[in-house]
């Protein structure tokens, strides 16, 4: 709740100024809220499965709409059409473009006691760390967890819906024969100097690759630092996977070690490749969370249940856009996910700063807690 505490005073002050200048009055009422403790979801828990399904549909259609915040909505046109064809309520979507903006909007709404989202789809670790810490998402109800296609997808505050694989991608015209990378260590070779793209803000990838190399592949922390420093020195940075992939396709870069799979997949016909994949492929899961104070709690449950099942088939069909949990493109590859054990939001922020330092060529490039600081 640090964010809320630290901004409460200033927001209060600014509000007083605004109120003083505009006249006082009640805040717009939020109707049908899930309640401060998310208890609206519990109301369905005691029912039998059939009763619950019918009650949720009836209540949801009475609520009239479900508001979903997300950061990637290539397939949401189809999702929207399919969902609205099945139920008599509107699916309202907000996608401001990045997970950070989604987070800022929801946290500010929560701090003001005026949540407008019912469901949020973002990185699962953010839901389980920051969103849970801020108290804006409700624990996943047991009956909703049961409706997930796989119980392994369910965590305390999130149900995974798809995953972002981050993997090395290269230009097949420029990188041939023995130069084709077979390990992330290869990006430390002189061949890649000045011809590599590293994507900013991918600290979950950085964390995952650190855990893999140091815990499973026997690399020491010092060796990891040396390798990453070399790779960073070889690299230009790109603000997302898409410009990095476009740069690789055009020959500006030979390749990059941490490109989201979706980016090269979009470049149909371009001279880029990620196969044979370099094991293991780091996967960063995304998932949905239920707002604790959702204005349309029944609609949130209805949409979530539908999205995890019927919606998942649409996601799976659009494999190139969003990789669902039953990933098929990378079936042959070993995969690794970030180990969130002992990870807190503070530590995650330390990873963010460390990765930023790496790209800028400053120290430290690892959080103190993993360097023994």
């Amino acid at each position: 709740m640090r964010h809320r505490r630290s901004t409460a005073a200033l927001v209060g002050g600014a509000s007083i100024l605004a109120l003083a200048l505009t006249g006082c009055g009640p805040s717009p009422a939020v109707s049908g809220s899930a309640g401060a403790d998310g208890s609206a979801y519990d109301a369905f828990a005691e029912m039998s499965a059939d009763e619950r399904a019918a009650a949720i549909v009836a209540a949801a259609e009475e609520e009239g709409e479900v508001v979903v915040y997300l950061r990637s909505d290539d397939v949401f046109g189809e999702i929207e059409a399919a969902f609205e064809a099945e139920y008599d309520l509107d699916l309202v979507i907000l996608n401001p473009g990045t997970t950070q903006v989604v987070q800022q909007q929801i946290f500010e709404q929560a701090a003001a006691g005026r949540i407008e989202a019912d469901v949020v789809e973002t990185y699962s670790h953010e839901l389980n760390l920051m969103y849970a810490e801020e108290g804006v998402v409700a624990p996943i109800p047991a009956f909703l967890a049961e409706s997930a296609p796989d119980r392994d997808l369910v965590s305390d505050h999130a149900i995974e819906t798809f995953q972002y694989p981050f993997l090395p991608v290269w230009n097949v015209d420029a990188v041939t024969g023995a130069d084709v990378p077979t390990s992330i260590r290869d990006f430390g070779e002189p061949f890649w100097a000045g011809r590599t793209a590293l994507v900013t803000n991918y600290h979950p990838w950085y964390l995952t690759i650190f855990q893999e190399l140091t815990q499973n592949q026997g690399m020491s922390v010092a060796e990891f630092e040396e390798l990453m420093t070399t790779i960073a020195a070889h690299s230009s940075t790109a603000d997302s996977s898409n410009p990095a992939s476009a740069g690789i396709a055009s020959g500006q870069y030979y390749g990059g070690p941490n490109i989201a799979l979706v980016a090269p997949q979009r470049l149909t016909g371009a001279p880029v490749s990620y196969e044979p994949t370099i094991d293991p492929v780091p996967l960063v899961p995304a998932g949905i969370g239920l707002m604790r104070e959702a204005p349309h709690p029944a609609a949130a449950l209805l949409f979530s249940t539908w999205y995890l099942n019927e919606g998942a088939t649409i996601l799976a069909a659009e494999q190139y856009v969003q990789q669902n949990a039953a990933e098929t493109d990378l079936l042959e590859a070993a995969k690794v996910r970030p180990d969130l054990t002992d990870l807190t939001s503070e530590r995650l922020n330390e990873w963010r700063i460390a990765y930023d330092n790496l790209l800028k060529g400053t120290e430290p490039i690892l959080p103190d807690y993993v360097r023994g600081g």
Binding site: R2, H3, R5, S6, T7, A9, L10, V11, A14, S15, L17, A18, L21, T22, G23, P26, S27, P28, R71, S72, D74, G77, V92, I93, L94, P96, G97, T98, Q100, V101, Q104, Q105, E108, Q109, A111, A112, R114, E116, M130, T237, D239, S240, S241, N242, P243, S245, A246, G247, A249, S250, G251, Q252, T268, S345, N349, R352, D356, L359, K360, T362
Partner: protein
């Protein structure tokens, strides 16, 4: 040389004659009654104070106070890193460099347009405005397509000749040139009315006295247009300090960090460090003030700069003579590099499945798939309508407020007018991200139910673009001589009548330029919008940003082409309507 900051307003015009006391009066001082002028002043001051005060308060409080009370820790978090000095240096070099390009080119082009017989004036006008139509993110991308490494359209050609391209969009140099060319239109829009409003007798007198062209330009022309020049210089300097998309896309690749990229990083952490972001914003403000003094961009606009007097005049065009061909070629070259090539690059990408260096193969693969996909983008049609409505409404409200404010600041002796001037300038130093976050926080708690609606976008844009509207309006007002207003007053006209029938028509070209500018920048505003637009109030800039993040560059390019077309239509209609109603804009 006067080198005061632009915050210093001109001396008020000659005191308005006080009507004689009625004969047979009681002998006591007449009871003061508020007139329409006083009421309008109070309303304008209150509105501006409200619009500006809210985000400023949010910014300052978040910077200097935390749970434990007053603190300066935010500055340590913002500037404590070893790379901070480097960031400051990058920011200064970028802001000054891009401003220098914009001021030199913008003023030169405006002079050619307004005062000479340069050929292709229509082309020059289009060339001078079009970069402004392109959102910065799109302009930066078009530069990558043109000059990115050795694989850009132009740089690959040069690399073929020289082995390696001598020009590169990436890095500080690329940032400076791209941002400079992108802000040329702003200076142009400022300077054209100023040049057009000049009384040519001043220059003629100097010439008669034996001064050559350069001396006349330096000692007369540039002196007379100094208010407009100072205003535009200040604005492009601050725009450079505030610029976000161009440094991120062209600079970060080579590790060039500026203040705005630092703010972005601070604001997107967890928890959001609004204090450190505020400290960086205050850094921007201090830098802006230093740069204003250091570059002499401040300046007064005393009566000596009033160029629009009761005398009728029409500046005769300066004949370029034998230089006409060279100047025309220069204009064509500018048009080619600043407009044609970036737009062609966008067009090429919008018609291609993905970017690659042009070849027969890539040209043969071009089709309209990206435009079809654009038409299928969720919310694209409501967002287009929202964008047009919000931009037009915001620009109109901004210019109404700032035209009135400019009169009080420039031409009145009202108490508190300097405060009004400072308030209208203040949003310049509030980065869009901070403004958006501040407004979101406030209006989520406000009884005014505008959060998530188009109205909050209008409020944000009016707040954000007050300084620009004010500079355009104040520039226009400054150049109008006092005698016109005094004559009206002596003949019994009330303040409102004088304002409406004398000042407004004379200032109309400048106000119209300001309106067009605010429309253009509102159309593409992103940093505050992305936080404030709701599911039902999306605008095109948010969709552009979303598509950019989705990686559909072809759709981004297609949307950019559509936005350019819409804005060109709006500008064309505005000038046409403006001319019909007598603004005498002769661009």
């Amino acid at each position: 040389m006067v080198s005061e900051t632009v915050l210093v307003r001109p001396e008020p015009p000659t005191q308005t004659p006080v009507p004689p006391e009625p004969i047979g009066g009681s002998g006591r001082r007449p009871r003061w009654r508020p007139t329409s002028k006083h009421i309008v002043y109070v309303v304008v001051l209150a509105v501006v104070a409200y619009l500006v005060g809210t985000p400023i308060f949010y910014l300052l409080w978040g910077t200097f106070f935390d749970e434990s009370g007053f603190t300066l820790d935010a500055f340590r978090r913002a500037f404590g890193s070893p790379s901070a000095l480097h960031t400051v240096w990058n920011t200064i070099v970028f802001a000054v460099g891009s401003a220098a390009i914009a001021v030199v080119l913008g003023t030169g082009l405006a002079y050619l347009q307004a005062r000479t017989d340069v050929p292709f004036k229509g082309l020059l006008f289009a060339a001078s405005l079009t970069p402004l139509v392109l959102p910065p993110v799109v302009y930066a991308i078009s530069w990558v397509f043109l000059y990115g490494g050795d694989v850009g359209i132009i740089s690959s050609f040069l690399a073929g000749i020289f082995g390696s391209s001598p020009v590169d969009a990436y890095g500080l140099g690329g940032m400076i040139v791209a941002a400079g060319l992108h802000t040329v239109p702003l200076v142009f829009l400022f300077m054209v009315p100023a040049f057009k409003a000049m009384d040519p007798s001043l220059e003629e007198a100097a010439r008669v006295a034996g001064a050559n062209w350069w001396t006349v330009m330096r000692r007369v022309t540039l002196q007379v247009i100094r208010p407009a020049l100072a205003s535009s210089t200040v604005i492009v300097l601050v725009l450079g300090l505030e610029s976000f998309e161009i440094p991120v896309i062209l600079g970060e690749t080579k590790g060039v960090e500026v203040f705005t990229s630092r703010i972005y990083f601070l604001m997107h952490g967890y928890p959001t460090d609004i204090g450190a972001a505020g400290a960086v914003s205050i850094g921007i403000m201090l830098l802006a003030m230093l740069l204003m003094y250091g570059t002499g961009a401040g300046g007064s606009s005393k009566k000596e700069f009033q160029t629009m007097t009761g005398k009728n005049f029409r500046p005769s065009p300066v004949r370029l003579g034998r230089a006409k061909g060279w100047v025309g070629a220069g204009v064509g070259l500018y048009f080619l590099f600043s407009v044609i090539l970036p737009v062609l690059a966008l067009l090429y990408v919008s018609l291609s499945p993905f970017y690659r260096t042009p070849s027969w193969e890539s040209l043969a693969a071009m089709d309209f798939t990206n435009y079809i996909e654009l038409a299928e983008v969720r919310n694209i049609f409501p967002a287009t309508m929202n964008t047009i409505v919000v931009a037009l409404v915001a620009a109109t409200i901004t210019m109404i407020i700032t035209t009135l404010a400019a009169w009080f600041v420039v031409r009145s002796t009202m108490f508190g007018r300097k405060l009004l001037d400072v308030l209208t300038l203040a949003p310049l130093v509030i980065p869009g991200l901070v403004l958006g976050l501040g407004m979101m926080s406030v209006y989520l708690r406000s009884p005014i139910p505008i959060y998530g609606t188009l109205v909050i976008l209008v409020v944000a844009y009016v707040t954000r673009y007050l300084p620009y509207g004010m500079r355009y309006s104040a520039s226009a007002m400054t150049q109008i001589g006092n005698e016109l207003e005094e004559a009206a007053h002596v003949n019994g006209a009330k303040w409102w009548t004088t304002f409406r029938r004398i000042l407004l028509p004379l200032a109309a070209p400048g106000i119209l330029s300001g309106w067009i500018f605010v429309v253009l920048v509102s159309f593409r505003e992103l940093s505050a919008t992305v936080l404030l637009a709701g599911p039902k109030s999306e605008v095109l800039s948010v969709i552009l940003f979303r598509q950019y993040n989705e990686g559909t560059f072809g759709v981004v390019a297609a949307l950019s082409i559509v936005m350019i077309a819409i804005l060109c239509a709006i500008i064309g209609i505005s000038y046409s309507v403006g001319s019909r109603f007598g603004t005498k804009v002769e661009l």
